[in-house]
């Protein structure tokens, strides 16, 4: 398989499927003139008209609860509902507002749940309308635009507590996320990447790394915003892998957009902080609300759960140890490709030998073999050279093609 094959398959996954489209219909658009009046934009928008049950009364919302919501929270809930219905597939949703289509926005991208062995990884894109007033003020003081954009002024700056999601408590994150939901000058997109998809991708014939999964999720979300008419001024991205390469990749994919890929972007740029909060809240609720198809057979122990999903969490450790089917391995909440998981399978489940593993057992010769003088002892080493010429290119072996000189 050539690398372009891999690219193609990746793209085909990025095409919104029916479920994504149904959510797109429900995208809430706020009338810029009157933020209270809500506009119906799609066929499925009926429930958007319903009054928000909790918001006005208490200001407190149970994000993991079953209540129905409107606005950003409605989109968030819909994403989780779809994901719960089929946790083996990725889900992508967008929450848009009119202002973000008319006025220039600074956009941030961040992820949550990259390290844990349990549950999905969530990618979030977040757009916020630029604070023109503040930009003009700074310009008057003689600051250059590039200097101003080192700390992009967005209307969001007025939201005080906002910071890198890891430095906030769960409660604060949820509060902030709820506030986002009602703002008419922000937009966001969420991509929930299923743990089975994460494992599947790293166990493909042509290995597809987690970095590529991340990059492609970011690209899909940017494309999603562009397709939906969000006015993107500049995109800030927390780096995954080498910074320069990632920046180049994004610039090549979107020649019309400006990017800033940076380390610790989630604490330096407000839109990235906001994206990180959205991603983290979604990841936490998705993990907490995980539904097992055969829940009665899952051993949750005294903790009645599976913990944070981090390999060091004792609750997660126990969950992993107690829920191994000797043949089929872990339930689908587990990222089988994580070494924590695969090491446990090696130890506690029956041994599996893959056909293709056997094929690939012929090791390639050391590269140093081709350099330098042959030592005297190697005189008869010529015999070992055909060893490597026997090793076929994967292109042939995957297609079952053999070289023949005669038919019989």
């Amino acid at each position: 398989m050539s690398s372009s094959d891999t690219e193609m398959e990746v793209k085909s996954e990025a095409v919104p499927d029916e479920t994504t489209i149904s959510v797109k219909d429900e995208e809430l658009e706020l009338d810029p003139e009157d933020s209270v009046k809500k506009e119906e934009t799609g066929t499925a928008a009926d429930n958007e008209v319903k009054a928000d049950p909790v918001k006005k009364d208490t200001g407190k919302v149970d994000l993991a609860g079953d209540d129905e919501f409107t606005g950003g929270l409605g989109v968030f809930k819909e994403a989780l509902k779809q994901f719960a219905a089929n946790p083996d597939e990725d889900v992508t949703v967008y929450h848009l507002t009119e202002k973000c289509k008319k006025v220039s926005c600074y956009v941030g991208i961040d992820e949550a749940g990259r390290g844990p062995v349990l549950g999905p990884m969530v990618y979030s894109i977040f757009a916020c309308v630029a604070d023109e007033e503040s930009i003009n003020e700074k310009k008057k003081k003689g600051q250059s635009l590039s200097k101003i954009e080192d700390c992009p002024p967005v209307l969001l700056d007025k939201l005080s507590k906002l910071n890198d999601s890891k430095q906030l408590t769960e409660k604060v994150r949820e509060e902030i996320f709820q506030k986002f939901s009602d703002l008419d000058y922000i937009a966001f997109g969420l991509k929930i990447i299923s743990p089975s998809q994460i494992a599947n991708k790293s166990y493909r014939r042509q290995k597809y790394s987690l970095n590529e999964v991340s990059h492609n999720a970011a690209i899909e979300l940017i494309q999603g915003f562009a397709d939906r008419g969000i006015k993107i001024e500049r995109v800030y991205v927390d780096t995954v892998g080498p910074m320069d390469k990632y920046q180049k990749k994004l610039e090549l994919t979107f020649p019309d957009l400006r990017f800033k890929v940076d380390k610790k972007a989630d604490s330096k740029y407000k839109p990235v902080s906001a994206a990180s909060v959205c991603a983290k809240v979604t990841r936490d609720v998705a993990l907490k609300k995980w539904k097992f198809p055969d829940a009665e057979n899952i051993d949750l122990g005294l903790a009645k759960g599976w913990g944070s999903g981090y390999p060091g969490d004792p609750v997660t450790k126990r969950f992993l140890r107690k829920n191994i089917d000797p043949v089929f391995g872990f339930p689908n909440i587990v990222r089988n490709s994580w070494s924590t998981a695969s090491d446990l399978l090696e130890k506690c489940a029956v041994k599996i030998k893959w056909e293709s593993d056997e094929q690939d057992e012929v090791a390639a010769p050391k590269i140093s073999k081709f350099f330098g003088k042959k030592s005297v002892g190697d005189e008869n080493g010529d015999e070992s050279v055909p060893e490597m010429s026997r090793r076929k290119s994967q292109f042939y072996s995957y297609r079952d093609l053999y070289q023949t000189t005669s038919i019989f």
């Binding site: 599947n200 000797p326 089929f328 990222r335 599996i352 030998k353 056909e355």
Partner: protein, 150 residues
Amino acid sequence: MSQRKYVDNTESSSSEENGSSKPVSKEVSVHHVPFKVEYEGQANVEAKFSSNSVPAPSDSKVLINQFRGRPLQGQKFDLPESYEGLVALDLKGSSQLADETSKDTEISLVNRFETMTYWNWDRVPSGMDKHVKLLDWMELSKILHEPAED
């Protein structure tokens, strides 16, 4: 090779409700997988594997599944006419069913099947797969070995 004695357990006790004496055969789903499981015995195939198969979005004839995180792509196929799939249990050295069967019985037939699903690891099923080639060969070999009409 001499014929080995066998006992046929594939027919469940005839359904008494409708009074018919026609045996009901126990159809099972049989999977051919691209890996060896170093284990013999019962496994929860239905709940942990068969029920997770979904048709591929691009081609509904292709099935998608996974095993321990590895992506599998498969296809269901019917056995050729005049062939029958049998699941057999080797009784030699096993105490199972010993009391019901005579001592010299060596094989117990436990299930019959007419369709099978084969799985490739991350490769779209195609005419190049061994299973498809086997079906081709079965047809060819029949023609080759049939007594020539004269």
